[in-house]
């Protein structure tokens, strides 16, 4: 057993793990972070994507011990404390960018990373950027749209005055 310590979605966890434990299994089985899911066993599907130190990683390709000392964000830690959705989550909802939802946690985390690196991506850049995340339901068209719209929302928020720029409050709730 190896002792590890990591912060996940803002909470610090200290654990002893078998060295062979994958980060995704540690998150799911030990920490109860079941929002992050496993879709394959060859690191192709990206369903298990989380942010580690701010960068997206497929958590099935990282050993839990490698993540020791790191700050991890999963889909469960993305919304604000008041439950307000992250712009990427909100955009996925508003553009119908998910159907069964199994790829969605990983897809959202990859999209967050993509927009951090490239705040104003073209559709082609979005498609290339999400190539490592597989979806079987949507044909990706609405996912691309969601990322594009989330990017717009986040850019608008960034350019807004400090009072109105509270994270991501610029978009009206869309109900129809």
């Amino acid at each position: 057993m190896t002792h590890i310590s990591m912060t996940v979605d803002g909470v610090r966890y200290d654990d002893d793990v078998e060295p062979r434990t994958l980060l995704v299994h540690h998150l799911r089985d030990k920490l109860g972070k079941i929002g992050t899911v496993v879709g394959c066993d060859t690191s192709n599907c990206g369903a298990c994507t989380v942010l580690m130190g701010g960068n997206s990683v497929k958590s099935c390709t990282v050993l839990a011990v490698q993540a020791s000392g790191m700050d991890i964000t999963t889909v469960e830690g993305l919304a604000g404390r008041d439950g307000e959705m992250h712009p990427v989550q909100q955009a996925f909802h508003e553009t119908h960018a998910l159907q069964c939802g199994y790829c969605t946690p990983g897809m959202i985390m990859s999209a967050v990373d993509l927009l951090a690196e490239n705040p104003d991506p073209t559709d082609a850049e979005i498609r290339d950027g999400l190539e490592g995340n597989l979806c079987r339901c949507t044909g990706y068209q609405n996912i691309v749209k969601a990322v594009r719209e989330a990017g717009e929302t986040m850019r608008t928020a960034r350019h807004a005055t400090p009072e109105t720029a509270s994270a991501h409050a610029t978009r009206d709730e869309v109900t129809t």
């Binding site: 299994h25 879709g39 060859t42 069964c100 939802g101 999400l130 339901c137």
Partner: protein, 801 residues
């Protein structure tokens, strides 16, 4: 009392965002894999590395000695309690139904077949322990190719049955009295197109691998499973194992996609069920992606020999189809019936006076096949639409013009085909016109001509697919005639809660389709309640006690009517109560905009919520009226649902590298009246993507020994975002007559339409080079080879007359 706003028709047709999304985008989803119970054991399943072998020795003892391993068993240990895997669709009287034990006992017949089980305190230990099981096999000869399997002296997949042929099923329009004789049509034809098309084997590849949890410790044995069919699963568990049906509860929690791949009752479910009963403890089995690819059922895998007869003016006169359909090594619940779902569709949208269909099911040492999105109908549409293009080529006629000559005109509906179906409605002209306009058909044809003329290394192809399909499964009477083991009705219940809120219970079982949203919209309109006041419950046999689940584009087409009828019953039941509250005669009341009002009298009436509260207290009910507004309705359709549409695909094909790029894709579908346009569009997007995937990317491949070479996402290449184009979607709307919503099914339409559109486009780009077919998937290598073969003058293709 709050006055209800005018809500008539307010919800249906509206782009409501999905109720389902909140949990799915925040990671609060209840996948089966997320379920953990006290004392639960984790199962590992040892699978056969051989495609055909006798099991000569199994010893699970060494696994049991490992720390953390609690139980282990082989097929022999549970032979008397595991039940047998059921097939509910023997399509003929003499369909061969081989024994299919969940856990192999004496013999294995495909790689990946379960042979032994360990149960451990955690998943990793179970995986480790599988390696300690001692098992010996005596190899037996393997047969993989369907034509070889039917040849004399071929090794038998099931020696005791004496044959590799599962059945032969025939539909002949002359014999059935539904049309002319195909042999005569062929003799009289001015043109006969003979072609062989290959439907490669596909893997459904839903994103959530299958998993199952069983808790045997309660009064009922509870099974959670990543399934499309919780009701069918419960019934078949009971019938197969002898455990009384009322002692089994099945729950399909959130399910991550299915596409037919989870329209199954699986050996793994039966094994987990047996293990939990044997141990008296909860068990959990979570499948790896590789295991899902290897042993979850596959789809398609047919050889299609097609003869299309026509006159020189392009009018079609007959079509005859001879199919070989690979069953795999065993029969899943509806394996034999999958090609039969296509049997009625080889005429598509055209007026074929004569029709003949013959299909033989064949056993091979491969994973069983069964439903995959479209199930039979994509195969039929592909062969037909490819053949129509070949006919156009033969006649030197525009591919759209040749279709126009023979399709059913909008004023000819209802139209009874020579396959015996009565298409209720459609407007192929309108959908085609819209599609051609959006696509820029004529401009693209001009560009194609100029590229051909200039010898551009990148050629342009235009692919057409005009389709219809039979969905909304299904009229029970017809299913009975086809020897299917169940009916095709669907059910819905409405519970009026005392506060006026509503619970809708559906027997359908969504796994990504958005029923919670769409059913809320329907109920809100019919009951005159706000969308947010409706909760839709499904997928648990305790709450949704009756249903036939979700597949075959049936949920809205059939289950939607059940819901409308249940809502109407509630409205009818509330009427005497409202009359009592309003102190008037029920006959004087009308239910408008969610209120009962005295006819012709404006002003306040009584809402269903008022009636629900009155029923709850029941202090002052009218005499003889039941103290309940709740209602159930079960609906059995008279006919199938016939969506249709026109899909157009333009591809650029690099003749030097064989690379195919989709330049534009237009899908105009007619699915009748639409409940939620956003969801419908999403279904088309995803369906088209899966059809494109068959055309260009996916194929399950076995080596000569029966090892699956495409058992992971590395080798089985489902498309990524970088592989697919944006598609242009639009709709025409021809309401389904007799359907209270006017809706038709949409779940499979995109997949059915798109594959031939893409392949027709690829072939169209290369016709002038002598290419008349490219086998799917049209990979760069296959395209390049097709060009080379044509250039070498050794082009394979159908014999031409």
């Amino acid at each position: 009392m709050t006055v209800t706003e005018d809500r008539s028709g307010a919800e249906v047709g509206r782009e409501r965002l999905r109720k389902e999304d909140a949990r799915l985008i925040t990671g609060r989803t209840m996948w089966t894999e997320n379920i953990s119970l006290p004392g639960m054991l984790h199962l590992g399943i040892l699978r056969s590395p051989m495609a055909h072998a006798r099991i000569t020795h199994v010893d699970v003892g060494p696994a049991l000695e490992m720390s953390g391993v609690v139980e282990a068993f082989s097929g022999r240990d549970i032979a008397d309690m595991q039940g047998a895997m059921p097939c509910v669709w023997p399509v003929t009287e003499d369909t061969v139904l081989p024994d299919y034990p969940p856990l192999a006992v004496d013999e294995v017949r495909h790689t990946g077949e379960p042979v032994a089980v360990v149960a451990a305190r955690d998943h990793a230990t179970a995986m480790d322990a599988l390696e300690a099981i001692e098992i010996d096999y005596e190899p037996l000869p393997v047969v993989l190719d369907m034509e070889e399997a039917l040849a004399d002296g071929a090794p038998l997949v099931h020696a005791d049955t004496g044959t590799n042929k599962c059945y032969t099923w025939v539909l002949d329009s002359a014999e059935a009295g539904t049309g002319d004789d195909v042999a005569q049509a062929e003799a009289d034809a001015e043109i006969v197109i003979n072609r062989r098309y290959i439907q490669q084997r596909l893997i459904p590849a839903f994103m959530e691998p299958r998993s199952v949890v069983v808790d045997p410790t309660g009064e009922q044995i509870t099974m959670w499973s990543a399934t499309q069919v919780p009701h069918i699963l419960r019934l078949l568990l009971a019938m197969s194992t002898g455990v009384p049906e009322q002692k089994i509860r099945v729950i399909a929690p959130d399910v991550g996609g299915g596409f037919g791949g989870k329209l199954q009752v699986t050996p793994e479910e039966f094994i987990a069920f047996a293990a939990a009963r044997r141990f008296g403890r909860p068990v959990k089995y979570v499948e790896s992606r590789s295991e899902t690819m290897l042993s979850g059922h596959h789809g398609r895998d047919q050889i299609q020999d097609v003869t299309l007869c026509a006159r020189r003016d392009g009018t079609v006169t007959g079509i005859s189809v001879k199919l070989l359909a690979n069953m795999g090594a065993y029969l899943g619940i509806i394996t034999p019936g999958i090609p039969i779902l296509g049997a009625f569709m080889y005429g598509g949208i055209y007026k074929f006076p004569a029709y003949r269909f013959e299909c033989s099911g064949v056993f091979t040492n491969t994973t069983k096949t069964d439903a995959y999105r479209g199930a039979g109908r994509p195969e039929a549409t592909f062969a037909l639409e490819r053949a129509m293009d070949d006919l156009a080529d033969e006649l030197g006629m525009d591919a759209m013009e040749v279709r126009r000559r023979s399709w059913i005109n909008h004023d000819e509906f209802p139209y009874t085909t020579s396959a015996g179906l009565t298409y209720d409605s459609g407007n192929y002209e309108a959908a085609t016109e819209k599609a051609m306009e959006l696509f820029g058909y004529n401009e693209l044809r001009r560009e194609q001509a100029s590229r051909r003329e200039s010898g551009d290394p990148v050629q342009l192809g235009i692919g057409i697919s005009t389709y219809t399909e039979m969905c909304g499964l299904a009229p029970s009477r017809i299913l009975g005639q086809l020897r299917y083991g169940a009916g095709g009705w669907e059910t819905a219940s409405v519970r009026m809660l005392p506060t006026g809120k509503v619970e809708v219970i559906t027997g359908t079982s969504p796994h990504g389709q958005g029923h919670e949203t769409a059913w809320s919209q329907i109920a809100a309109d019919r009951l005159g309640v706000p969308f947010d006041d409706v909760e839709v419950l499904h997928g648990d046999t305790r709450t949704s006690h009756k249903g036939l689940d979700t597949y075959g584009s049936r949920s809205l087409a059939v289950g939607g009517i059940a819901l409308v009828n249940a809502c109407q019953k509630v409205v009818d039941k509330a009427k005497p109560i409202a009359a009592h509250l309003l102190e008037c005669d029920p006959a004087d009341l009308e239910f408008v905009d969610g209120q009962y009002r005295v006819k012709g009298t404006p002003g306040a009436g009584k809402t269903l919520a008022d009636c629900a509260l009155a029923v709850f207290t029941s202090h002052d009910m009218p005499d003889g009226v039941e103290s309940s507004l709740d209602a159930d309705a079960t609906f059995d359709p008279e006919n199938f649902s016939y969506p249709h549409g026109t899909h157009l695909c333009a591809t650029e094909v690099d003749t030097e590298t064989g690379r195919v790029t989709i330049r534009s894709y237009v899908a105009v579908d007619d699915v009748g009246r639409v409940v939620n346009p956003m969801i419908v569009e999403g279904q088309v997007h995803g369906g088209v993507a899966q059809g494109i995937a068959q055309a260009l990317f996916e194929e399950a491949v076995y080596d000569a020994d029966g090892n699956l070479l495409t058992g992971t996402f590395v080798d089985y290449t489902i498309p990524s975002s970088a592989d697919l184009p944006d598609i242009v979607t639009d709709r025409t709307e021809t309401p389904a007559p007799g359907h209270p919503l006017g809706s038709k099914g949409v779940g499979e339409a995109g997949t059915i339409a798109s594959t031939p559109a893409v392949v027709n486009s690829v072939v169209d780009a290369l016709r002038h080079l002598g290419v008349s077919d490219v086998r799917m998937p049209c990979t760069p290598e296959r395209v390049w080879q097709a060009i080379r073969s044509a250039q070498d003058g050794a082009q394979e293709g159908g014999a031409r007359l």
